[in-house]
Structures are given as structure tokens and as C-alpha cells.
């Protein structure tokens, strides 16, 4: 019942904050959000799941109640966590709390609505990572869109309405494409399954001959089409080039706390779903399409990084860098090696923390200088040393400085994808590694211009020291990033591997090699 409790706390908190008067909302929301955070940390410490939840592993915090029957398919409230989803739940609750704290300064209108939506989004995110039944999962998956639509649309920048509608319609259409693909599989499986529970479907799809034909499509064609439909649906969320065009608009227009959530957690929904659906359920199709997918991943890494290099707005730089970093996740997933899938999952958490940190830093800089343009400021380190330090730490983590989470994650991914069984894996990995050079380029460039040198600000605002509640989230994130980078194995990678290895076990032989 722990996951239900977590979701219920967030929802009740959301409602409570929504009805509170504006002046109490920020502190109340922060206080309320500490409860799910503490609960999720407690769950992480007492976590006792083993193996992959979809492939017969022991599921932690499992609960299952019969809900609906659709024809011959049962739908149940089926919740549970494994080593893949548990860290992401903690990431969601942690970033929500920090994002709420980071909202105190910039959000100064309609506060109760803002914080209510943040908590509502937290509930939906926990639901996405916790649900093990397709229909329940889809309900939460779509429910995440609603608060984000409002967060961008109401509290966003100048072109917020355009960005909000674009985000909403783009990702909703992607959801429907994915939905159609998934139901193609369900109807193709016919009597092989009796419910929409993801473990049952995953195991049926991995059984030879279970997938039948549907209409004019034979089993092979059906599986291929379903894979492509689901891949496109999730790729929009990740985002993988060329499905990324909604992201810069949404990121740049969103208020900083929403950007933190968007980059930190919402993008992970896409890669999490890719791992759960495409790469766990249809490994043989993934193997057949490995080279094109890996190429898409590498293109995302390099193209995203080069787009970031071309920007002069700090927020756009960080936004495009997300496209680049999420490319590593794609590359790791398609490698189908121990370090590849495990590293990709680790990178989801690591990127969530680091991009959250960078967006929060940009937010603090914007709050005090009222500009995000690199050319408009210089020498900020003199005026706001803590923020500047945090920004440097975040940038180095992004570049993969050892003992920080980014290094561990990218190292795992590179090791994994170098050994991958698809053609040209070494070449593609080498190209992907070149992305780190570009990352160093744009981050060093922007730090040099904004933080160092003589102080100069071309705005009318006085640059002051940031408040305590602005910098606390930055410091907390740095602590997590360093902890995860120093003890990656003990803190997370052990649990992650435990859940990702079963994905490989049944398929490793067919890929012509061991783990």
C-alpha cells in the first residue's frame, strides 16, 4: 500500500494547497512535499525487490486489485516497483520538493494553483513509474500532461500559449500513436493473455508463437509495426531527433521550476517507457532495428550538442543539452549489454539530477539579473559566489567529471555500447563520445562569459545575492550528484542491474554472445 499512500498524499496535498490562500501556499506546499519525499526515501532504504518486475522478478510494494473486465481482458489496479522504477520514484519526489523550493522567488501570481499543480504532477509521475497495468499506467501517463500544460501556459514566458498548446497536442498525438501500436500487440496476442498487466504481456510477447496475426498483418509484420508505433510515441517524449522540436519551445517558455520537472523527470518517462515496452517486450525487433536506433541516438547526441553550441540563451543551451544527454540513454538501451541497459537507466537518474541542477541555476541567475542572454552579463561569480559555484559543479557533472554522477553514467553507457552486438557499435560509440567534447565546449564557453571576468550586467536590475531558499536546492542536488558519482554501485547501480539484467538473459544467446 506504500505506493498508493504516496500518490494519495500528493493528491490530498495538491487539493489542500489549491484551496489555500496564496500567501500560505508556498510554505504549505513545501512542507507537504517533504512527506512523500521522506516516504519515498524510506521506501528506497527498505526496498526488497529483486529482478525485473516485468520478467518474473519479485516486485517490491506490490498491490493488485481487480478493477474492470474488458471482454476477455482483465484490468486491475496493479502497482509495484523494481530496481528500474524505484530510483525514478525517488528522483520524482526529490525534484518536486526542490522545484517547489525553487519556485518561491520567481512565482508570484496565482500561487495556490501553481503549487497545487506541482503536487498533482508529482502524484501522476509516481503513478507512471509505479503502475504495472497498461491502462492504469496510461491514465497516469496522460495525467502528467495536464498540469504541465497549465504550468507552461499560465506561468510561462512571452510565447507561453503557443508552447503550451504545441507541447500538449504534440505529446498527446504521440500517446495515441503509441496506444494504437500497443493495442495491436494486445489483440495480436489474442487468448495468450487474460489481462492488461504488463508482466503478463511482456512474458507472452517473449514466448515464441504467442503473437498471432491481426487482420491483414502477420505476426512478424505486426510486431514490427507495433514496435515502430510505440517507438515514435515514446521518442517524442524523450525526445529523440527528429521528434524534439516541441522541447526547446516548452523549455524556454516554461517557468524555471517546471523546466526542472520537465527535464528532470518528464523526459525520463519516455526512456523508461522505451525500456519497459520496446526493449523489454520486443527484444528481437530491437535487435533487427539496432543500427538505425543507435544512429538516431548518436545523431541526437551530436546534433543536440551542436544546437546547444549555437545558442546564446542560457536556458536554451541547457534545453538542447537535454536532447544530447538523452541520446546516451537511447544508445545504452539499444546496446543490450549489462552496462548498456544498466548504464542507460543510471543515466536517467543522473541526468535528472544534473539537468535539474543546471535549470535551477539558470533560474536563480535569471531571478537576480533578469536576463538569460550570455552576452548581457559577465563576472557574476563576484556577486553570487554560491550560485556560480553550483553552476560550475553542474557543468562539470554534465561534462563527466569523475566522482560525479554524470561520469559514472556515461562511462557505463560507453562501455556497454562499445561491446554491443550490432554492426559498427565501436564506431557509433566513438562518435557518441565526441559529444562530450562539444558539451565541454558550450558549457565552458557560457561559464567563461557569464561567471568570470570583470563584473558587468546590461540590465537595469541590481544584481544581489540569491536567497537561502534559492540556493538550498542547488546544494542538495550537488550532494546527490557527488554521492551518486562516488558510490554509484552501492547507491543505485546494484539495484538497477538487478532489474535490467533479466532483460538480457533470455535474449543474450540470440544476440550471439553472453553478457
Amino acid at each position: 500500500m506504500m505506493i498508493e499512500l504516496l500518490i494519495a498524499l500528493c493528491l490530498l496535498g495538491a487539493f489542500a494547497v489549491f484551496v489555500l490562500p496564496d500567501e500560505y501556499a508556498p510554505k504549505a506546499a513545501f512542507g507537504i512535499s517533504l512527506v512523500p519525499l521522506a516516504l519515498s526515501l524510506y521506501m528506497y532504504l527498505t526496498f526488497d525487490g529483486t529482478g525485473n518486475a516485468l520478467l518474473g522478478g519479485d516486485i517490491a510494494f506490490e498491490s493488485q486489485y481487480q478493477w474492470l473486465t474488458l471482454g476477455s481482458y482483465e484490468v486491475s489496479w496493479f502497482m509495484g516497483l523494481d530496481g528500474i522504477s524505484m530510483p525514478l520514484v525517488v528522483l520524482a519526489t526529490l525534484l518536486t520538493t526542490l522545484a517547489i523550493l525553487a519556485s518561491w522567488t520567481p512565482i508570484n501570481m496565482r500561487q495556490s494553483q501553481f503549487y497545487g499543480l506541482m503536487l498533482f504532477m508529482e502524484a501522476s509521475l509516481v503513478g507512471v513509474f509505479g503502475a504495472l497495468d497498461f491502462l492504469i499506467w496510461f491514465v497516469f501517463w496522460e495525467a502528467v500532461l495536464v498540469p504541465m500544460y497549465f504550468l507552461i501556459g499560465i506561468w510561462g514566458g512571452a510565447r507561453r500559449k503557443y508552447a503550451a498548446i504545441k507541447f500538449f497536442v504534440y505529446t498527446n498525438i504521440a500517446s495515441i500513436v503509441m496506444f494504437v501500436g500497443f493495442f495491436g500487440l494486445v489483440f495480436g496476442l489474442g487468448d495468450s493473455i487474460s489481462s492488461l498487466a504488463l508482466p503478463e504481456i511482456a512474458q507472452a510477447l517473449r514466448t515464441d508463437g504467442a503473437l498471432g496475426s491481426l487482420g491483414a498483418f502477420g505476426a512478424d509484420r505486426l510486431a514490427l509495426l507495433a514496435f515502430v508505433a510505440m517507438f515514435i510515441g515514446f521518442a517524442v517524449k524523450v525526445p529523440i531527433v527528429p521528434f524534439h522540436t516541441w522541447l526547446p519551445d516548452a523549455h524556454v517558455e516554461a517557468p524555471t521550476p517546471a523546466s526542472v520537472m520537465l527535464a528532470g523527470v518528464l523526459l525520463k518517462m519516455g526512456t523508461y517507457a522505451l525500456l519497459r515496452f520496446n526493449f523489454t517486450m520486443l527484444p528481437s525487433i530491437a535487435r533487427d532495428l539496432a543500427v538505425p536506433i543507435a544512429v538516431l541516438g548518436v545523431v541526437s547526441i551530436l546534433y543536440g550538442a551542436m544546437l546547444a553550441l549555437a545558442q546564446s540563451d542560457l536556458k536554451r543551451i541547457v534545453a538542447y543539452s537535454s536532447v544530447s544527454s538523452m541520446g546516451y540513454v537511447t544508445l545504452g538501451l539499444v546496446a543490450y549489454t549489462m552496462y548498456g541497459t544498466g548504464g542507460a537507466t543510471f543515466q536517467m537518474v543522473s541526468h535528472g539530477l544534473i539537468s535539474g541542477l543546471l535549470f535551477a541555476c539558470v533560474g536563480v541567475i535569471y531571478n537576480t539579473t533578469h536576463t538569460r542572454m550570455v552576452g548581457d552579463m559577465s563576472g557574476l561569480a563576484d556577486k553570487m559566489p554560491v550560485t556560480a559555484g553550483a553552476f560550475v559543479a553542474g557543468a562539470f557533472a554534465y561534462m563527466g567529471l569523475p566522482l560525479m554522477a554524470g561520469f559514472a553514467a556515461e562511462f557505463f553507457v560507453f562501455v556497454g555500447s562499445f561491446d554491443a552486438h550490432f554492426a559498427y557499435s565501436a564506431l557509433l560509440t566513438a562518435l557518441a563520445m565526441f559529444g562530450i567534447v562539444i558539451v565541454a565546449g558550450y558549457l565552458l564557453w557560457s561559464m567563461q562569459r557569464t561567471l568570470f571576468g570583470p563584473f558587468r550586467s546590461e540590465t537595469d536590475y541590481e544584481v544581489t545575492t540569491a536567497s537561502l531558499h534559492d540556493v538550498v536546492p542547488l546544494l542538495v542536488l550537488i550532494v546527490f550528484i557527488i554521492a551518486l558519482g562516488t558510490f554509484p554501485y552501492d547507491l543505485a547501480f546494484e539495484r538497477v542491474l538487478d532489474a535490467t539484467e533479466p532483460i538480457l538473459e533470455t535474449t543474450a544467446a540470440s544476440f550471439g554472445g553472453g553478457l
Binding site: 489549491f18 478493477w67 474492470l68 473486465t69 474488458l70 471482454g71 494553483q113 491502462l135 496510461f138 491514465v139 496522460e142 495525467a143 500532461l145 495536464v146 500544460y149 497549465f150 501556459g153 499560465i154 507561453r160 500559449k161 503550451a164 498548446i165 500538449f168 497536442v169 498527446n172 498525438i173 495515441i176 496506444f179 494504437v180 493495442f183 489483440f187 491481426l214 487482420g215
Partner: protein, 495 residues
């Protein structure tokens, strides 16, 4: 079972009694307007009728169909299911009308007309012969014409009433002519009698086919489906908003109840007589595609919220038609038809709620266009949340039960072998998010030109909107209580 057998018609009787009671109240004290008493009587009556039909439905009355008056009326689970829909919509509409009609003349007549119309709808759901079907259809329609034109000082309202009446009269004629052709081909008006005749085939397949086509035309009119939809945008826009809610939710559900029963019972698709005359699933499939697409595209181009809702209501008729189109013989028939019934149940609440929100906006004089709605959430956050729920649920996002009912419909279409129709529905549904979210955007995101001044918060209307929203959300997890009821109710029709 209920004893005596006629007690099975209790929901209808309660509605008639309420209409008569309203007459009585008005006769005793005709001069003074007693809005609270009148709306109270109507509300209690509608609620009682809903309670009775719900209790009957859940206690299994009509699992074994109860045939009354020589089979003219058939009370079965399906009839009761639709009576729950129409009476619950009526209850919410009456609650919302109380404030809307504030200080308006002829309140007793208004509520009486509503009660008489809903009586007709309740009978439509239980019609056992084409004669009863026609009479019930007229009983539901005639009060509706007057209700649409109720604001007789308002030019739009009168014009809408006239348009509704003219097309209604034409459609009635078409429907009646269709009935006479079917009678010519089969020699009976009883639904099961027609089916029996058709098992031996008919000597006049052409006459039967044309008759069936004209009957489908009658249904298309009542459900506002293409090509008999032209009255709907005008009537919904011109009518008082609670009446728009009433007609677009309850009347549409009743039309579908009749269509389901007549087509499934009297013209079973497997029967050779029907196959020789007209494969109506093909006709309905074409209607479904045309209705969905036209409704959604037209809704996307509207500037007026009420008109947008009217066109979206046409689009939703198209979704429900999928349930009839998919009755091709493959797939679980009762599952497919049950999906349509569930969608109508959910739609009853979310669509009524949306129109009542429009009623609230009219009550506040904020206007009817998207532009006028800008920034309204600032003044009325709770109903705006409710409206957001209605819009997203209508669009099929899983914040309300609209997601699940659409999912049932599309899954039904796939199991009937019409996966491409499900795809058309899904694409339409995705498109609809664009125009539904415009309302949400106007309410929450856009800034008003000048701040809205809202003087009063009419409690009954406000409450009605909130109730509709709570039910819309509550049905998402709560549908588990109803889905099997709906499937079982649909199964009754297939014997």
C-alpha cells in the same frame, strides 16, 4: 422481478406523475411564481425516477424481459439503463435550471415540458413496437420544440425552435413513412414480430430496404447525426443552455436507445431477410465516419463556445454510432453495444455539465465566445476546474470517465473487425483535444480584456456543475460498478 408486472414501468409513471403534479401546483396557485417549489417538485420527481430505475437495474429487474400490454412495452435491463441516463441528466438539468430561470415567467410550464419530454424518452427506451416508438418519439420531441423556443423574447431562441420544429416534423414524416414501408413488407409493427417474419425472408426486399433506411434517418435526426444534423447547432445555440444540455444529452441517449433496440431486435444483421434488403451496418459505418469527422472539424472552427459544444455533440454521436457499426457479427456483440451505452452514460454527465457551465456564464452575462471566457477561472476557480474536467474528459484524456468509455468503443470496433474505424475515431479524438483545450486555455491562461464582475454565485447551478464533474471523475474508477451491468443489459437484446 416486480409484482405486479406493470410496476416495472414505475420510472415512467413517476415522471408522468411529476408532470401532473406540476400542473396541479400551477393550477392551485397560478399567479404567483414559486420557483423553489416548482423546481423542487421537478427535481424530486426526476431524482425519484432515477432512484427507482437504478434500484431496478441493480436488483436485476428485467434480466428476464418483462413484456407489457401485449409486447408494446418491453422493460428489460437495457430500457432501465437508458432510463437511468435520461433521468439523471434531467435531475442535473432541473437543478441547474432553477437559477437560470430566475424571475422568468412560465416556470411551471417549463418544468412540465421537461418532465413530459423525459417521459417520452423513458418510453422510447422501452418501446416494443414501431407504433410505440413513433408515439414516444413525438412525446419527446414536441415539448422539446417548445423548450428550445422558451425564451420567446429572444430572436435566436425562437428561430432555433422553428428550425428544430421544421426539421423535426420532416424527420417524423420520414420515420413514419419508413415504418409504413416496413409494415408493408412484414405485416407487423412488433419488433420481435418483424424479426420473426424476416427469418423467412420477404417478398419485398426493396420496400423493406427503403423503409429501413428511412427509419435510420429518423434515428439520425434524433441523435443529431449526419445528414440530419443541421438543426443541432442552431437549436443548441439558440435554446436556453440547460435545455441545450437536456436535448444534447438525454434526447440523444433516448434516440440511441431506440436505434439500438429497433435495429438489433427487429432487424438482426444475421437474418437473411435483412441481408437481402439492406446491410444496415454498412450504412451506420458511413454515418459514423461522416458524423465524427464533420462534427469535429466543424467544432474546431467555431468561435462560440456553445456552438463548439453543439458540433462536438455531433462528433460524439459519431463515436456512439461506432457501437452500431461494429455489430458485424464478429466480436462480442453485447460488449460492442454495451460500449455505446457506457459512452452515453458518461457523456450524459460530462456534456450536461459543460452546457450548464455555459448556462452559468450566460447567467453572469460574460458572453458566449472563447474570447469572452478569458480569465474566468480567476473569479470562479471551482467551476472552472469542473469545466476543465468536462473538456478533457470529452477529449478522451483520462482525467474523467470519457477516456474509458471511448476506449471501450474503440476496442469494440477492433473486436468487430473494424480496426480502421477505431483508428478514425482515435484520430478524431486527438483532433478534438485542440478545440476542447481552447476553452481551458481561455479560462485559465488568457488574460481578460477587462476584469469580469461576478455579483452572485447561484448555488443550485453551481452545485449542478460540481455534481456533474464529481460524477464524471468518479465514474473513471467507479465504472467497474456499471460496465458489467451495461454489457449484461446489451446482452438482453441479443436474446
Amino acid at each position: 422481478m416486480v409484482e405486479p408486472a406493470w410496476a416495472a414501468t414505475a420510472p415512467v409513471l413517476v415522471l408522468v406523475a411529476t408532470a401532473l403534479a406540476l400542473f396541479l401546483v400551477d393550477s392551485i396557485d397560478p399567479e404567483s411564481n414559486r420557483p423553489r417549489l416548482l423546481s423542487g417538485v421537478a427535481f424530486v420527481g426526476a431524482l425519484a425516477a432515477m432512484g427507482v430505475s437504478l434500484v431496478y437495474l441493480l436488483t436485476g429487474v428485467g434480466v428476464e424481459p418483462i413484456s407489457l400490454y401485449g409486447g408494446q412495452l418491453v422493460v428489460d435491463q437495457m430500457a432501465l439503463f437508458f432510463q437511468v441516463i435520461v433521468t439523471s441528466v434531467t435531475a442535473v438539468v432541473v437543478l441547474g435550471s432553477h437559477d437560470y430561470l430566475d424571475s422568468h415567467a412560465y416556470q411551471a410550464e417549463y418544468y412540465t415540458l421537461i418532465m413530459l419530454a423525459v417521459t417520452g424518452m423513458a418510453v422510447m427506451a422501452a418501446a416494443g413496437s414501431l407504433a410505440v416508438a413513433f408515439i414516444a418519439l413525438e412525446l419527446a420531441s414536441l415539448p422539446s420544440y417548445a423548450l428550445v423556443a422558451f425564451m420567446k423574447q429572444n430572436k435566436g431562441s425562437v428561430e432555433a425552435g422553428l428550425k428544430y420544429f421544421l426539421i423535426g416534423a420532416l424527420s417524423s414524416a420520414v420515420f413514419a413513412f419508413g415504418i409504413s414501408l416496413v409494415y408493408a413488407a412484414t405485416g407487423t409493427l412488433m419488433l420481435d414480430g418483424i424479426a420473426e417474419e424476416l427469418t423467412q425472408g420477404t417478398e419485398l426486399p426493396g420496400v423493406l430496404g427503403v423503409g429501413l433506411l428511412m427509419i435510420i434517418g429518423g434515428f439520425a435526426y434524433k441523435t443529431a447525426s449526419v445528414p440530419f444534423h443541421f438543426w443541432a447547432p442552431e437549436a443548441y445555440e439558440g435554446a436556453p443552455a440547460p435545455v441545450s444540455a437536456f436535448i444534447s444529452s438525454a434526447s440523444k441517449a433516448a434516440g440511441f436507445a431506440l436505434a439500438f433496440r429497433v435495429l438489433v431486435v427487429a432487424f438482426p444483421i444475421a437474418s437473411s431477410g435483412v441481408q437481402n434488403a439492406l446491410d444496415w451496418t454498412v450504412v451506420v459505418t458511413i454515418l459514423a465516419v461522416a458524423t465524427m469527422t464533420l462534427g469535429n472539424f466543424a467544432a474546431a472552427t467555431q468561435e462560440n463556445v456553445k456552438r463548439m459544444l453543439a458540433y462536438s455533440s455531433i462528433g460524439h454521436a459519431g463515436y456512439v454510432l461506432i457501437a452500431l457499426a461494429a455489430l458485424t457479427g464478429t466480436g462480442d456483440q453485447s460488449l460492442i453495444l454495451g460500449a455505446g451505452m457506457i459512452h452515453l452514460l458518461v457523456y450524459g454527465f460530462m456534456n450536461t455539465g459543460a452546457f450548464l457551465f455555459v448556462a452559468l456564464a450566460e447567467h453572469w452575462d460574460v458572453g458566449r465566445t472563447f474570447q469572452d471566457y478569458r480569465g474566468l477561472a480567476e473569479q470562479a476557480p471551482f467551476v472552472s476546474v469542473a469545466m476543465t474536467v468536462f473538456m478533457f474528459s470529452l477529449a478522451g484524456l483520462p482525467v474523467g470517465a470519457g477516456f474509458l468509455s471511448k476506449y471501450y468503443l474503440f476496442a469494440g470496433a477492433v473486436s468487430g473487425g473494424l480496426w480502421w474505424l477505431a483508428l478514425v475515431g482515435a484520430v478524431n479524438s486527438a483532433l478534438s483535444l485542440f478545440y476542447y483545450s481552447r476553452v481551458v486555455k481561455a479560462l485559465w491562461i488568457d488574460e481578460p480584456d477587462e476584469p469580469h464582475v461576478i455579483e452572485s454565485y447561484p448555488s443550485a447551478l453551481y452545485g449542478a456543475v460540481i455534481v456533474a464533474a464529481v460524477v464524471t471523475v468518479g465514474l473513471l474508477p467507479g465504472l467497474v460498478l456499471f460496465d458489467n451491468v451495461a454489457f449484461d443489459a446489451a446482452a438482453v437484446l441479443f436474446g
